[in-house]
C-alpha cells in the first residue's frame, strides 16, 4: 500500500467538514422561518439571532484554514503554492484551489462580521458545494480506474454531510437539532450502503479495480472507517434523540481513516504494466 | 591528496603572501569566474527537462573501448566537460557497435565516479582485520620490492611470486602485468583460462586454429543454429545479424538446456539434456550421412579421415540413440539435421557454455564435424563460429620483457600461459621457464605448490574470490600466502583477503587499444580524464615497482622505470596491424574504430587449414597424441553427485564480478535469484520468491527463488555476479573439475563449470 498522503487526507476531510457546516447552516436558516431559532439560545450560549453564531463561522473558518495549511505540506515546493492557480482552463486542481480559496474568504468574512446575512450564507453554501465538486473531479484521475468516476464526489458529499451535521449540532439551536439528526441518520445510512457496495462493484470490475477492492478490504483502516465512522454512529443515532457532542470527533476519526484508505489503498494503473489489464 | 589548496596557498592563509596578491586579479577572478553568478542557487539549479539544445560542441569527445571479457568489445564515444565524463555512447563508425552500447556499458560513468572506488594505495594490518592504513605509492612499492627480494634471497629464485590475472581488462597494454613478472625473473603463473579452452583445442585439432567468420556475415546464412550461446544477453550486438538472417528467410534454431532469451527469439528452441550436445551433433551427422547430404567434394579434397568418421557413425551412432541421450525426439533431430544439411550456407554458433563440460571439447569437435561434412566450412554465411584472434597481432611490447641476467627458474617443459600468450614459442626454448599452475585449480595448486611454495600472490585484472572455483578451498590457500597484493577498483572479497591494495585506472584514465575475439573491429582507447585520486595504470605500477626493485637491488628488474601510457600504446602497433586495418598510423583510429581487411568475411575461405595435414581433420592424430580420441567420438558426461544439475552462467547485468555492484545496475537488478522449474518447486514445497538454500559438498548459497518454465525440471539456475551489499558467490557451489581439453593451446584444461550438481531446500 502506497503512502497515505496525510496532507491530502487532512485537506480533503477538513475542507469537506467546513463545506458541510456551511451547507447545513444555510439549510438550517431556511428552516428558521418564524424566528423559531430566536427563542432557542444556541448551545454555545452566544446570544440568539440568525443561525450561524460567530463561534460557528469562526470554527468553520479555522477548520478550512487548517485544511488549506495542511495542503501546503503536500507540495515539494510550498513556496510555489500561489502558482497553482495558473491552469484554471484545464486543471481541476487549479479550480479546486480557487474554489476553496473563495470559500475560505466567505467563511472568514462571516466570521469577522459575526453575523452572516442570508446572502452570505447562501453564497458560502453554494461556493462550498462548487468546491466540493472540484475536489470530486481532482481526485478522480484516469490512472485510478476505481476512482475515475463519480465515486470520489459521492464520498466527499457524504463526508461533508456527516461532518457538517455532527459538528453543526454543537452550535445549532434546539429547533434545528431534529433536522440535523435526520440528516446525519440519512447520510450514515447512505454511507453504509455506499462503502459496502462500492468495493463490491470494483470486485466485479477490471483487474486494477479488483486489486483496489482487495486492497481496501484488506486494510484495517477501511474497517475502522466502516465500524467507527458509520456503524457505531448509526446504532447510536437510531437510539439517541439528538446528536451527542462526541459524535463529531468520532465521525471525524472515521472519515480520516476512510480517506487514508482512499489515498493509500487505491491501486494505480501503472502498478501492473505487463500484467493483463 | 595535499592538505590544502594547491600553490600558492599553503599553510595559514593569514600568512600567505597571496592575499597581498593583487586584489585586482582576485576580483577579476571572483567576479568574472561566474562563481558569484552561480551563487544564489549554484547547487539548486534543477536539471530542467527543457535543457539547452544538445550541442556536441559543448563537449570534448574521446574514443574509448570497452575492455571487458565480452564478444562485443564495444567502441565507445565519451563526452567530457570540465574534465568530467558526462555520458557515453556507442561509436557509430563501427557497424558492429552501431552507435549503441549495452546496459553495462552505459553504466560506466557510475564506475569511474563511484564513491566506493579504491582511491589510494593501502596496507592492511592483519589480513581480513579491516585495519587499513593509507600509504604512499612509494611506501607500498618499497614494501613489495623488499618482500620480493627477501623471497628471492631465501629461495634463490622468484618462483615464490605468483601472478593471477585474467580478463578483467583486455586492453593490450595491460599485458604489461605479465611483462612486469617476466622483467623480475622466472615466476609462477596461474595459466590457462576458465572461459573457453576446451573449444579452442577442439577447433585447433579440427581446423588448425580457432578462427570464426565475421559475425556480420551471419545475415547471409540461410540456417543458423545457436548452440549453447545466449547472445541476447551476452552479445547483444550480434542479435541484429541473427534477425537480419531471419528477415531474409533463414531459420533460427537455438539449442540450450535453458529457454534463454535467445531461445525465445528463435524459430525452434531445443532444450536437450545438459552436456548431451556431442550425442546430438553425432546423431544429426548420422542422419546427414544416411540421407547422402554429405559435401563429397569437401570431405574428399579438403579433409582427412572422413571415411573413418563415417564408419564410426554407422557403427556407433543412431538417431534414436542421440534422441535417448539428449531427450530431443528422433524425428526432431532428423528434421533439423536435414534442414541444416540442405540450406546453403548454414552456420552453427558454438557457445562457450556448451564446452564447459568434462566432454565439452569432444562435443565441439562433433559440431565442427557436422558443419564440415555439410560443406559449410570456409563459406560466407557458414562456418563453425567459436572465436578468433586474427586482430590481436600487436607487438605485446608491454608483455615481452626479459628476465634479469642470471635469473633462474623452473626447469621443465613450458606450455603456453593462456590463449593470448604470444611468447609461448620463445619460452619453450629458454633454459629456465616460469612455473605454471592451473588457473582453474587455483586453490588446490596454491596449496600444493612446493620448493618453493607460493609466498606472494599478485592479483590483477581478476577477482579470484569471485571467479576461481571452490571458494572455501581458496580461502585456505590464501591463508598460506605470506603476502597478497591486489590491484583493484573496488573493495572485493579478494581485496578483503589482501595485505596491500593498489588503485588501478579505468578505461577512461589510460591509453590502450582493444581488439575483439569475435568481431573484426579494433578500437583506440584514449585517456579521456585524469586518473582519479591516486589510481595508476597497470604499466605505471610495473614501472614504479621496477624503480624500487632497482633502487634496492640494482638490476633486479628489467622493466622500464618511466612510462607514458600513450607512448606504450603506440609501441603496440606495427606494420602488420596497420595493413590489416588499412590505416597508416594509429592516429587514424581517433577518427573511429577500424575493421580488419580480411580476404573474405569467411574464415578458411581458401580451404588451407593449419592442421598438420593442411586439411580439415575429422581424424586428428595430434588430438589422439594428447590423450583424446582421434575421431570426434562421443564422450560421456560427468556423473551426478547431487540430485539437480547446477548451472551458473552469465547474467545480462554483469560480466563475471563486474558491473552488478554499481548503484545504477541495482536499479534493475537488486538481488540474485535461483530459477526453478514449477515441478521442482512443487516437489520441494518452494513458493515463488521464497528464500532457499542451494547446497552441495563444495558449499552453499542462500537466495530467493523464482519459479519459471524456462528452466528444466532437473536444473537449478543461478547467475554469477558480485553484489557490493550482498554476501553472494556462486563459486561457493562450483568445484574445480576439469574439462576434457584446453591444455594444448592454453596451458591448462578448461573447467566443467556446467557439470555441477546441487540440492535445494527452503531456508
Amino acid at each position: 500500500m502506497q503512502n497515505i498522503e496525510l496532507p491530502l487526507v487532512l485537506f480533503t476531510v477538513l475542507s469537506q467538514a467546513a463545506v458541510g457546516m456551511a451547507l447545513l447552516l444555510a439549510v438550517r436558516s431556511c428552516g428558521c422561518a418564524g424566528g423559531a431559532c430566536a427563542t432557542t439560545p444556541t448551545t454555545t450560549g452566544t446570544g440568539g439571532g440568525a443561525p450561524g453564531s460567530r463561534a460557528e463561522w469562526l470554527t468553520a473558518t479555522i477548520v478550512m484554514g487548517v485544511a488549506l495549511l495542511a495542503s501546503l505540506f503536500h507540495l515539494g515546493h510550498p513556496e510555489g503554492a500561489v502558482r497553482t492557480l495558473a491552469h484554471l482552463e484545464r486543471a481541476w486542481l487549479s479550480r479546486e484551489i480557487l474554489a476553496f480559496g473563495a470559500f475560505a474568504v466567505l467563511l472568514a468574512v462571516a466570521a469577522v462580521t459575526g453575523k452572516a446575512g442570508a446572502g452570505l450564507r447562501g453564497a458560502a453554501a453554494l461556493v462550498g458545494l462548487a468546491a466540493l465538486y472540484t475536489s470530486g473531479m481532482t481526485y478522480a484521475p484516469p490512472a485510478m480506474p476505481a476512482l475515475h468516476n463519480a465515486a470520489p464526489l459521492g464520498f466527499f458529499l457524504l463526508s461533508a454531510l456527516l461532518l457538517g451535521a455532527s459538528f453543526g449540532s454543537w452550535f445549532a439551536g434546539e429547533g434545528s437539532q431534529p433536522m440535523l439528526r435526520a440528516v446525519l441518520l440519512g447520510s450514515l445510512a447512505a454511507a453504509l450502503a455506499v462503502y459496502v457496495i462500492v468495493p463490491c462493484v470494483w470486485a466485479s470490475g477490471g483487474t486494477v479495480m479488483q486489486m483496489t477492492a482487495r486492497a481496501w478490504l484488506a486494510s484495517p483502516l477501511y474497517w475502522a472507517r466502516l465500524v467507527l465512522g458509520i456503524v457505531v454512529p448509526l446504532v447510536v443515532m437510531i437510539r439517541s434523540p439528538r446528536i451527542p457532542r462526541w459524535m463529531g470527533p468520532l465521525v471525524l476519526l472515521g472519515e480520516l481513516a476512510g480517506r487514508a484508505v482512499f489515498f493509500g489503498a487505491t491501486v494505480h494503473a501503472a502498478v501492473n504494466l505487463g500484467i493483463p489489464y | 591528496m595535499s592538505d590544502s589548496l594547491g600553490a600558492p596557498s599553503r599553510g595559514a592563509p593569514s600568512r600567505t603572501p597571496s592575499y597581498a596578491m593583487t586584489r585586482r586579479s582576485f576580483l577579476k577572478g571572483l567576479i568574472a569566474s561566474g562563481a558569484l553568478a552561480t551563487l544564489p542557487c549554484g547547487l539548486l539549479t534543477p536539471r530542467s527537462a527543457s535543457a539547452a539544445p544538445f550541442n556536441k560542441a559543448d563537449f570534448q569527445i574521446f574514443r574509448n573501448a570497452c575492455p571487458r571479457n565480452c564478444y562485443d568489445t564495444c567502441s565507445i564515444v565519451t563526452y567530457v566537460k570540465d574534465g568530467v565524463v558526462r555520458f557515453v555512447e556507442g561509436a557509430p563508425e563501427s557497424t558492429f557497435t552501431a552507435g549503441g552500447l549495452c546496459v553495462k556499458g552505459y553504466a560506466y560513468p557510475r564506475r569511474v565516479y563511484s564513491p566506493d572506488r579504491i582511491k589510494y594505495p593501502m596496507v592492511q594490518d592483519g589480513r581480513g582485520s579491516g585495519n587499513w592504513r593509507r600509504v604512499s605509492w612509494d611506501e607500498a612499492m618499497e614494501r613489495i620490492a623488499r618482500k620480493l627480494l627477501e623471497i628471492k634471497e631465501k629461495d634463490g629464485n622468484l618462483l615464490g611470486l605468483a601472478l593471477t590475472k585474467y580478463s578483467g581488462n583486455f586492453g593490450i597494454t595491460n599485458y604489461g602485468v605479465e611483462g612486469m613478472m617476466s622483467s623480475l625473473g622466472y615466476t609462477t603463473r596461474l595459466v590457462g583460462t576458465p572461459c573457453w579452452p576446451a573449444g579452442i583445442d577442439a577447433q585447433n585439432y579440427d581446423l588448425g586454429d580457432m578462427w570464426c567468420n565475421d559475425p556480420e556475415d551471419m545475415e547471409k546464412s540461410r540456417y543458423v543454429i545457436i548452440w549453447g550461446a545466449n547472445p541476447a544477453w551476452c552479445s547483444v550486438h550480434s542479435m541484429k545479424y541473427v534477425y537480419a538472417a531471419r528477415d531474409r528467410g533463414a531459420k533460427i534454431v537455438v539449442i540450450d538446456p535453458v529457454l534463454t532469451q535467445t531461445a525465445a527469439k528463435g524459430d525452434v528452441a531445443w532444450q536437450p539434456e545438459t552436456g548431451s550436445d556431442g550425442a546430438l551433433a553425432l546423431g544429426m551427422a548420422r542422419h546427414v550421412l544416411d540421407l547422402g547430404l554429405v559435401d563429397r567434394d569437401f570431405v574428399a579434397n579438403n579433409a582427412v579421415g572422413f571415411e573413418e568418421f563415417a564408419a564410426y557413425l554407422r557403427n556407433n551412432v543412431t538417431v534414436d540413440w542421440a534422441a535417448e541421450k539428449s531427450g530431443i525426439p528422433a524425428d526432431e533431430i532428423r528434421r533439423v539435421a536435414e534442414e541444416f544439411a540442405t540450406a546453403k550456407p548454414a552456420t552453427i554458433w558454438i557457445g562457450y557454455g556448451m564446452q564447459r563440460h568434462v566432454n565439452g571439447g569432444a562435443a565441439v569437435r562433433a559440431i565442427d564435424a557436422l558443419v564440415a561434412m555439410t560443406g559449410n566450412v570456409g563459406k560466407v554465411g557458414g562456418g563453425a563460429r567459436y572465436g578468433h584472434l586474427q586482430t590481436w597481432g600487436f607487438n605485446y611490447h608491454a608483455m615481452i620483457q626479459k628476465a634479469p641476467a642470471g635469473s633462474t627458474g623452473f626447469v621443465g617443459k613450458a606450455g603456453p600461459k593462456g590463449e593470448f600468450d604470444v611468447t609461448a614459442g620463445a619460452a619453450a626454448a629458454a633454459a629456465y621457464t616460469d612455473r605454471a599452475l592451473n588457473i582453474n585449480k587455483t586453490a588446490q595448486e596454491l596449496l600444493d605448490a612446493q620448493n618453493p611454495p607460493v609466498r606472494v600472490l599478485w592479483s590483477s585484472c581478476k577477482n579470484p574470490f569471485a571467479q576461481d572455483f571452490d571458494r572455501n578451498k581458496l580461502e585456505k590457500a590464501f591463508n598460506k600466502l605470506e603476502m597478497v597484493v591486489s590491484v583493484e577498483q573496488f573493495f572485493t572479497e579478494t581485496v578483503r583477503h589482501s595485505d596491500i591494495v593498489l588503485p588501478v585506472t579505468t578505461l577512461f584514465e589510460e591509453w590502450t587499444v582493444n581488439a575483439s575475439y569475435w568481431h573484426y573491429w579494433v578500437s583506440l582507447n584514449e585517456q579521456a580524464i585524469a586518473p582519479l585520486h591516486e589510481a595508476k595504470s597497470n604499466i605505471e605500477i610495473a614501472a614504479l615497482l621496477s624503480k624500487h626493485m632497482n633502487r634496492l637491488s640494482p638490476g633486479s628488474c628489467t622493466y622500464p622505470q618511466d612510462i607514458d601510457t600513450k607512448e606504450w600504446m603506440e609501441k603496440e602497433f606495427n606494420k602488420g596491424v596497420y595493413e590489416l586495418l588499412g590505416i597508416s598510423h594509429w592516429q587514424d583510429l581517433r577518427k573511429g574504430p577500424a575493421k580488419a581487411k580480411m580476404p573474405s568475411s569467411a574464415s578458411w575461405s581458401d580451404r588451407k587449414f593449419k592442421t598438420p595435414s593442411g586439411k580439415y581433420e575429422f581424424r586428428s592424430d595430434l588430438c589422439a597424441s594428447h590423450g583424446h580420441k582421434a575421431l570426434p567420438e562421443y564422450k560421456e558426461g560427468r556423473k551426478a553427485y547431487a540430485p539437480y544439475r547446477l548451472l551458473t552462467p552469465h547474467s545480462k547485468f554483469a560480466i563475471h564480478s563486474q558491473f552488478a555492484n554499481l548503484d545504477w545496475m541495482e536499479e534493475f537488478q537488486k538481488e540474485p535469484f535461483v530459477y526453478l522449474n514449477p515441478a521442482l518447486a512443487k516437489a520441494k514445497g518452494i513458493a515463488d520468491l521464497d528464500t532457499v538454500r542451494v547446497f552441495n559438498p563444495t558449499g552453499e548459497v542462500k537466495l530467493r527463488a523464482k519459479i519459471t518454465n524456462t528452466v528444466p525440471g532437473d536444473c537449478l539456475l543461478v547467475y554469477e555476479a558480485w553484489f557490493r551489499k550482498l554476501d553472494f558467490n556462486v563459486q561457493n557451489l562450483v568445484d574445480d573439475e576439469s574439462a576434457d581439453m584446453g591444455a594444448y593451446k592454453t596451458g591448462a584444461p578448461g573447467v566443467a563449470i556446467h557439470d555441477q550438481f546441487a540440492d535445494v531446500a527452503r531456508a
Binding site: - | D3, S4, R23, S33, A35, L43, D82, G83, P115
Partner: protein
C-alpha cells in the same frame, strides 16, 4: 570557561578551520594526532560555547572534556583505522568526505558540487593540486577555501576607504561576504550536517574524530547562522529539503 561570542573572522574560526582541515586530510596516525591536538588547543583557547545563542555547546560535556588523555602510538593507530573505515576506504565508506557524494542527485564524485567549488577556487586564484584527478569538493579543500575567504574578509574590512584602488573595497567586502555566505551557509550547509550525522551514527567512532565532527558541525552552523539573512532563509529551507531526502 570564557564565554565569547566569536563572529566569523575571529582567530577562533581560523584556528578551528586550520585544525579541521588538517584533520580531515590526514594521511595517517601522526597527521591525525597533530591535527587533533591542535583542535583541542583551539577549544582550550577559545572555549566551545556557541555563537548561536541557545545552541548547546559542542563539547560532549564540559569545556575541556574529551581532550585525549591517552597519547600512545597504539591509540592513534586505532584512530587511524577507524578514520579510514569512516572516510577513506578501501572499503565503501559510510561518510565520504566529498560534497558531491551528498549533494549529487545520486552519490557520485566530480558532480556539479565539485564544479561549483572549483569555480570558487579559480575565482580566488587557486586550484586543487592536479585538478581533475582530485575531486575539488573534498572537505579539506573547502575548509581551506573558507580559511582563505576568512582572511580575505579581514583584509577587506581593514582596508581604509581612502587607499582604495579600483574597485572600491566595499565591493570587495560584499563579494567576499557573498562568497563566504555561499560556501559556508549554502554549499557546506547542504552537506556537512548530513555528513556529520552519518559519520557519528557509525559504531565506535573514536573520541578524537567524534569531537572533530562535532566541532565541524558547530562551526558550520554558527558561521551559517551568523551570515544568514532573510534573503537566504528560503535557500536554507530548500537545503533542508535536500537534507531530508
Amino acid at each position: 570557561m570564557n564565554h565569547i561570542f566569536p563572529t566569523p573572522g575571529t582567530p577562533r574560526d581560523a584556528c578551528l578551520l586550520r585544525a579541521l582541515r588538517d584533520l580531515f586530510s590526514a594521511r595517517g596516525a601522526d597527521g591525525l594526532r597533530a591535527a587533533s591536538l591542535a583542535l583541542d588547543a583551539c577549544r582550550t583557547m577559545f572555549g566551545c560555547s556557541r555563537s548561536t545563542r541557545g545552541a548547546p555547546p559542542c563539547a560532549p560535556s564540559g569545556p575541556l572534556s574529551g581532550l585525549d588523555t591517552i597519547d600512545t602510538p597504539d591509540h592513534w593507530r586505532t584512530t587511524e583505522y577507524a578514520f579510514n573505515r569512516l572516510f577513506v576506504g578501501p572499503m565503501a565508506v559510510p561518510a565520504p568526505p566529498y560534497a558531491s557524494a551528498w549533494l549529487e542527485t545520486e552519490p557520485r564524485l566530480m558532480g556539479e558540487a565539485a564544479m561549483d567549488v572549483r569555480n570558487l577556487y579559480h575565482s580566488l586564484g587557486y586550484a586543487v593540486p592536479d585538478e581533475g584527478a582530485t575531486p575539488d569538493d573534498h572537505l579539506s579543500f573547502e575548509l581551506d577555501a573558507a580559511l582563505a575567504l576568512l582572511a580575505l574578509r579581514e583584509a577587506a574590512n581593514a582596508a581604509p576607504p581612502s587607499s582604495a584602488p579600483e574597485p572600491s573595497p566595499s565591493t570587495l567586502a560584499t563579494d567576499t561576504q557573498e562568497a563566504w555566505r555561499w560556501l559556508v551557509a549554502e554549499h557546506m550547509g547542504a552537506w556537512v550536517p548530513r555528513f556529520v550525522q552519518h559519520a557519528l551514527a557509525e559504531p565506535d567512532v573514536p573520541p578524537a574524530i567524534a569531537r572533530a565532527l562535532a566541532m565541524l558541525l558547530c562551526w558550520q552552523e554558527d558561521a551559517a547562522a551568523a551570515c544568514s539573512t532573510a534573503s537566504i532563509e528560503e535557500t536554507i529551507t530548500g537545503m533542508q529539503g535536500r537534507q531530508d531526502a
